[in-house]
Symmetry: C2
Subunit: 355 residues, 2 copies
């Protein structure tokens, strides 16, 4: 390892949660990683310390101007006792791109991955091993400089916190009902849709609230300019299996470059399937839905891995997909990806990294 | 007063700054207002207490999902010793609209204004009286509930902090150089452009950095769909005097409904001038610039009040406005608004509120 982070161990270890009642992102482990940035020292003082509240000035830029970013990945314990991360280099790369867009100082990608390994290593006893559970890893950066006035901050904190989690959706791999969002827009060219930042998620809350009030789990976002091309599902990437072609939106700046998205594309190609990263209109999706050509639809993301869609609603019309059941491809992708992540499927591509 | 907030006074009052060296948003007063929200109690426990760091869990939603909003206004000390706020009811109203968009629980508008009056009253000795200085008032709300997972939070903090400030632009009322932003977009229909939230400002930082690197103070934003209609200048509203008509972008959801913007429109109408809230293309602006019809251009905002634009650049072309000097109307608007704010112009419209 190139980096060596000092560890200050907690003197008050917490009780570990019951793996049967784990939810998502409610409980945090004993330790966290923290590193500071100043113009004079750059990123410095990386260390692991007890999980504890932050003390921040009320004028800290993050509270006012949301100069912040985050990442998400999971650590799994394999049956033979290894601790595995899934493609953490992709999180490091995306952090570089997000930071560039958000005027946050670059973090060396090797340091980023080593910091994750170090803190997960310290709290490895917190990784649950029950099927469907994992240790969710949340790296994030906030501007902690206290000032008012719009400009990039000069001082930042980079932190990694860890949360033992159950399945993201309580119901497991059950198909969701979603509707097409016509009122609100997630991202637009020239905006921040490809960056993993708080502001994108804050802007999406209203739409999610509307979906829940109407009895839907999530929304399908359309592009912000023509309002006709399908982009993402909630906070996940969207895939459509139309006949033999699997379609997902291309990475043109409004789409989050999901790591599960990239993995799914890779697997499908490896399996000899036709995958198209292309713009597709909601009209095309609905026509395919009505004619029976839309055989599967699913969302991909770190939290849920694969989340099948069973019903899609748009302007009062509904299409049911695969009889509202989990599709064959969705299940196969989930099994393969989850199997890779927990070390039960042979990792031919070198995607898993041992802590 | 309908509300009565307890006051916990500081035992360690800070030294007040030299009014000659005041900058913007660097120094904070002795006290702050704080109130909490929970689903069980609603907004509760409003109080004034010593200015001090916040203790927040690293998983607090504001750090990850930027569920946050802010407002800004100024308190002035008049020559006859009164403390004046300028249209605080407009900040309260805008807070209501922002909260609605951001899934933040509604705050009673009367409470909002009374909280400002109360905390400004406690720290009234901090209001500087030198010309061009004021006490900047920053109400803001953050989601402080600790959890990971995208949903509206259940717990919030509403705070008001105060900062004695000098002029926003160091150079005073000097015309700025701005360029037309073709790459980045500030807002789009269906997005959050009309809400006063951190995410909008975070998204604009890159563009501001680019402007500064190119020798410009700010950018002129174009609309996100057709990329041809002028919208705002940096973090301010934009006004163009073309011949006898004063034009500003209409409030169609992508424009921040500025309080200075509204005040300027009111004053111009009162003065019998032609004011149009209409969409205008950058082509029209440049043609007017080249033919000499663009006689003045200025930005409006709480921090700078009126900020004249002396040069506008677009795709390699430049137009100089009013020979790069402060225009007659810009100066008149500044004098009138600033005069009203400090209590030296008779307040016929009841815009000022005494603390």
């Amino acid at each position: 390892m190139k980096y060596n982070f000092p560890v200050i161990k907690t003197t008050h270890p917490k009780e570990k949660p019951d793996p049967d009642t784990l939810r998502f992102g409610q409980i945090f482990t004993d330790h966290m990683f923290m590193m500071e940035y100043s113009p004079e020292q750059g990123w410095h003082n990386g260390r692991i310390q007890p999980y504890a509240p932050l003390q921040l000035d009320p004028a800290a830029a993050v509270f006012h101007y949301a100069q912040e970013m985050f990442e998400g990945l999971k650590a799994y314990k394999s049956k033979d006792g290894r601790v595995l991360l899934f493609r953490p280099d992709m999180n490091a790369r995306r952090t570089t791109n997000t930071n560039e867009r958000m005027c946050i100082p670059h973090i060396d990608e090797e340091l980023f991955v080593e910091a994750i390994k170090a803190v997960v290593g310290v709290d490895r006893e917190w990784i649950p091993s029950k099927k469907g559970t994992s240790l969710y890893v949340r790296p994030f950066i906030i501007a902690d400089e206290p000032f008012l006035g719009v400009r990039p901050a000069d001082h930042f904190l980079f932190m990694i916190i860890l949360s033992p989690v159950g399945p993201y959706y309580e119901g497991g791999l059950a198909p969701t009902k979603i509707y097409v969002e016509n009122e609100f827009v997630r991202a637009t060219p020239g905006g921040t849709g490809a960056a993993k930042i708080g502001g994108n998620y804050a802007a999406s809350l209203k739409s999610q609230e509307k979906a829940h009030e109407s009895g839907y789990e999530q929304v399908l976002w359309l592009d912000g300019v023509e309002r006709k091309y399908v982009e993402e599902i909630g906070t996940s990437n969207a895939f459509f299996k139309i006949g033999d072609e699997v379609v997902t939106a291309p990475l043109t700046g409004t789409i989050l470059p999901g790591i599960t998205r990239d993995s799914v594309i890779n697997l499908l190609k490896q399996w000899g399937m036709k995958v198209s990263e292309r713009r597709m209109t909601i009209d095309e999706v609905f026509e395919a839905g009505k004619s029976g050509k839309l055989v599967e639809m699913f969302a991909t993301g770190t939290a849920a891995v694969i989340s099948p869609v069973g019903e899609l609603s748009w302007k009062g019309e509904k299409v049911t997909i695969n009889n509202g059941e989990i599709g064959e491809l969705s299940q196969k992708l989930y099994d393969e990806l989850y199997g890779l992540q927990i070390g039960e499927v042979e990792d031919k591509l070198g995607w898993t990294v041992e802590v």
